[in-house]
Symmetry: C2
Subunit: 371 residues, 2 copies
């Protein structure tokens, strides 16, 4: 599959960008779906360490977009217009509004770059005005594109060590193909064989910084596996949860509701910063003293363990992924973990993970509604 | 049910608070689950119009909390500690960290208020130090508490017209009990009769400002309906989606995947602000010109209509809720719409909507893990 070779093919991009002087302080990323979920996930995971702010303009919602526009200084911003097909209506519409509202000049503009498939309408547009244009390989689908220019350009510019990100991804892929990560195949087989019994797969992530990553997984899983097979709808429904918050919202349903879900816990071994829980004994609140003197990350991780144990005792099938730290190499591995798991599960289900024929009808109806 | 009378019983609270001078510029809301999802939803819906900033401290995540703590000026902030039981470990732990880190004084503190059940440990703690304490009625469950002091105190202080919010809620309730909103009963009946055929209920909201409201619904639906009934797990799994973004992530699964979902679309008739789509013809990008001269809200709503039509043609059961504008009265109606729908569906399923016995096991395991 196209995405397999990104850990190598994207290296040149990193080296190209690292050799340049970059003076913008803000990166405005205009894109939606596969064009935004990956870079958003990485940006949220590494927020503390990025040297540039990345603003994501995704939804054509007037209140949301209007608010974000007010905060953008066109003099210090680089605008990235990102669309695999080069025709995404939301992205192009937001771009037009930016051009008008911020009075951006197009001819030879050094602060407007495009990221799209070679030869797409957006690529040809860039060529017309002499804009810098990066390409998304034709054989890499949007939702598998985070390690292509889609994620690598903004994150490298923002100071992330994207070479390590690519290395981690490549190492996981190599181990997988050397059959050293066969647990992934077993998991894919379990999901596919039990698709009727467990049609819902939950990813329960324990770190606020993982919330956007979880959304990236939801899109990858849902869109890749929801397909027709011989006239019948197959697929698995992903649900993304955030611990500890969703222990107070969704856990009741997991424990006592229908046994139609598998749960994967995702936790972080060591946090890059931590907070101590003071040894404070407050009158009447002594029932909370059992965590005194511990740390917040310990509480978070013990809650993950306790929730997992409660699910196990309630016979809900579950597993655990633990990454040691949120650092580039480990996140690269994690990206390939989920991408390869998705590919393997699609294979076991006998469907094509890489197309999305179901969304064309809505696009046609939308176009007709304006005629 | 307890929450039925909130539209009247919370009026006194609004009048009390409106008669006071309030000099803080920031409200720091410390709470999780039912204590935060409702006020967060309202805060996101009315962000443009609030006169105070509300900061929500929910997840005991060191990176997330550490970052938020840096932005808090204790001199100009009011701290609301919110927990129905008065024993929520995450909330009390974050409160302790605030006390220590910001060096807050407790005795007679005018800037620390509590919101909890009368006589709870937190209420007694407040009494010990002479802190102002607001009560959540005993008979109102956390996830049905948004119109109690939980939501009314912070939103009234932030300048929302909470009397209109309560009025809208009361009017919808009255119409429902006068049998003028029987579509709600039909819907509840449909969900319960088809719980095996359609175990997943999607709320697809078309406005970024509705994202938090959608999370509030997910919690309300999942936790209220996921229950044991005679040893068997019953319940319906909620999924919250955001249009147009999730057209690029989840729609493929809805259209071509298994036919196990119902979809409710939620849209806003008129946005309080709008953006015009300029009449720009960009070379090679003419396929996006069909929206030129229209507005962003029109595009957003036409996308909602087109997606709904695509689902209808694909035989996915769906319905539409349209609110005319995001204003207090309409949002009050919407809150009662979903709360009454939840109660009616629980009744039809033969389960208790108001308890959550399944989450106790995890709490016990957590406590033991620290001993």
């Amino acid at each position: 599959m196209g995405y397999y070779s990104l850990p190598e093919s994207s290296r040149g991009l990193v080296e190209e960008l690292k050799g340049e002087e970059f003076t913008f302080t803000t990166i405005v990323h205009i894109g939606i779906g596969g064009s935004s979920l990956g870079p958003k996930a990485l940006s949220a995971l590494f927020r503390e360490r990025l040297s540039k702010e990345i603003v994501f303009l995704e939804n054509p919602d007037p209140v949301d977009l209007g608010g974000k526009l007010e905060g953008i200084d066109p003099q210090s911003s680089l605008f990235l217009v990102v669309s695999k097909s080069g025709t995404t209506i939301e992205t192009l519409t937001i771009f037009k509004i930016l051009l008008k509202t911020l009075d951006l000049q197009l001819e030879g503009a050094p602060n407007i770059w495009t990221i799209t498939e070679e030869g797409s309408p957006l690529d040809r547009f860039a060529a017309t005005y002499g804009l810098r244009s990066f390409h998304i390989p034709k054989e890499v689908g949007g939702r598998f594109s985070v390690l292509s220019s889609v994620g690598i350009v903004p994150l490298t510019l923002a100071g992330l060590d994207t070479l390590h990100l690519l290395e981690g991804a490549g190492e996981f892929r190599d181990r997988f193909f050397r059959r050293e990560e066969d647990h992934l195949l077993h998991k894919a087989l379990f999901y596919s064989l039990n698709a009727r019994r467990y049609p819902i797969n939950v990813l329960f992530s324990y770190a606020s910084e993982l919330e956007e990553f979880t959304k990236w997984y939801v899109q990858l899983w849902g869109e890749s596996l929801g397909k027709r097979r011989g006239g019948e709808g197959v697929g698995l429904t992903p649900v993304g949860l955030l611990g500890t918050i969703d222990q107070h919202s969704f856990l009741q349903l997991l424990i006592e509701g229908p046994r139609d879900k598998t749960v994967t816990f995702l936790k972080v071994g060591h946090f890059n910063t931590d907070l101590e829980i003071p040894d404070l004994h407050l009158p009447h609140l002594d029932r909370s003293d059992f965590v005194n003197g511990s740390t917040l990350s310990t509480l978070l991780n013990r809650e993950c363990d306790a929730t997992r144990e409660a699910l196990t005792r309630s016979q809900v099938p579950n597993d655990l992924i633990e990454i040691e730290r949120i650092e580039e190499r480990a996140v690269g591995e994690l990206i390939f973990y989920f991408e390869l798991l998705t590919s393997a599960t699609a294979l076991a289900l006998g469907i094509d993970a890489y197309n999305q024929p179901g969304v064309e009808l809505g696009k046609r109806i939308l176009r007709e509604s304006f005629l």
